[in-house]
């Protein structure tokens, strides 16, 4: 093991929101979930949760109605790509800026 006088500083991170800072500002497109098509929301029980599993920044909660933490979601779109029922669509951020994004 390293000598205790040395503070070995390296870049190592564990998975979780915020390990690369508040990455929500990077987002160009925002994922929006249509709960009428979302499997756990429709069934009213824990199921599927592929969006939670695939999110590389762990910003999606494992709830009956999954929630996306927009402070950290950087808009990569992997959740929309993986959702088997196409319940997630990517909406341009400018739509929200104009107030047309329905959120």
């Amino acid at each position: 093991m390293p000598d205790s006088r040395f503070k070995i500083l390296t870049s190592a991170s564990t998975a979780g929101p915020g390990d690369a800072g508040r990455t929500g500002s990077w987002r160009v497109e925002r994922p929006v979930i249509d709960y009428s098509r979302c499997t756990p929301a429709k069934l009213g029980k824990h199921a599927c949760h592929l969006c939670w599993l695939y999110c590389p920044d762990r910003t999606i909660s494992k709830d009956i109605e999954p929630q996306i933490d927009l402070e950290y979601c950087k808009g990569c779109g992997i959740c929309a790509e993986e959702c088997p029922t196409r319940a997630i669509r990517m909406v341009a951020e400018e739509e929200f800026a104009k107030g047309d994004g329905h959120e």
């Binding site: 000598d3 998975a15 929101p17 915020g18």
Partner: protein, 404 residues
Amino acid sequence: MSNQRIDSGNNAAALAVQLCDVDVVAAYPITPQTPLTEKLSELIAAGEMDAEYVAVESEHSAMGVCIGAASAGARAFTATSSNGLLYMSEQLHWAAGARLPLVMCIANRGIGAPWSVWNDHQDAMSQRDTGWIQLFAKDHQEIVDLTIKAFRLAELVHIPVMVNYDGYYLSHTYMPFELPAAAAVKEFLPPYAYLHTLDPQQPESLNSVTLPDARQDVHGVTQGGYMDIRHNLHLEMRQAMEVLQEIDAAYQQAFGRGGVPLLDPYRCDDADFVVVAMGSLANQLRDVIDQLRAADNLKVGVLALQIYRPFPTAQLAAALQGAKGVMVFEKGLSYGNQGALYADLKSALYPYPARPQLHNFILGLGGREIRTADLSQTLKTACLQPAQSLPEQTDTPHWMGLQL
């Protein structure tokens, strides 16, 4: 039980690596390092060394395998020379930035073009800013001792270490040396441990894109940004000199050899003139100055640098305070400027009161023969030469042994 033998420098390195309980060897053969890797592959194939030999397709891959192996918790070793070292260059920076405790032997050789297989130090000098510790051996015994110490140093400070020895002059010549007993080396070298050893139970991303600023990690702990990580690498590389001195003292206690981990002075106590060099050349110069002292009554000493990075700045400046003249002989240079060692030595002296007259000699590039008689004549002329009036003259390197 220790073991006296007469063998080549490459085999001395291989036998030292065998003693260090290495888990992974990944290397690509290149002259003059080849016999070292051949010896290691023979030892592994014969079951005399419990390690995995990964035959890679290039030096870049060799360093890549070592980086992976060290991250996975294995003690890894590689070796190369010349253009092979340069082909690794990108990965060398990576290993240092990741603070991986790797050890690598370099059988020093000139860099093409034009193609050369013979010795000089340009390969190591060109990689001086990669963040690796660079040690230089003067003979076979030092190859053995430095290689063993290098593993302990790398693993204590988490900075990779290069052990340099001159191609052919040391790699292929036969010399007597003592090989320490395996049990004693095992005791000297604790089991390998890396701070971020990969563990499926504690998954981590290592060295992914790191932002310019420090950040709060998922646990709310402030983690340094790129610049902070690099600052600590520099600072702890400087501190590594102290650890090397401690390791050397422990080695001396265990094996009876050591005492000069940073600078190795020879007849410097009363010297008016000090010759500075690295590697086997420093030993050749001992004969030269013995002659000059006997025949010409010139008080000359030799100061060998055992470590080039981190640079022993204060120790070197202090060692040269009593000298009237300092002659730096080196087998490499920073093209368009001067010898790199000379420039480093000059900058080390600047803050100190005594500024001896300095001379820089470039010699032995691409294996150009270094004749003891020529060294003697060059050194004698430099000692007897009055201080030159033009700073430009004083500061220009002289090329020794040119055949133009």
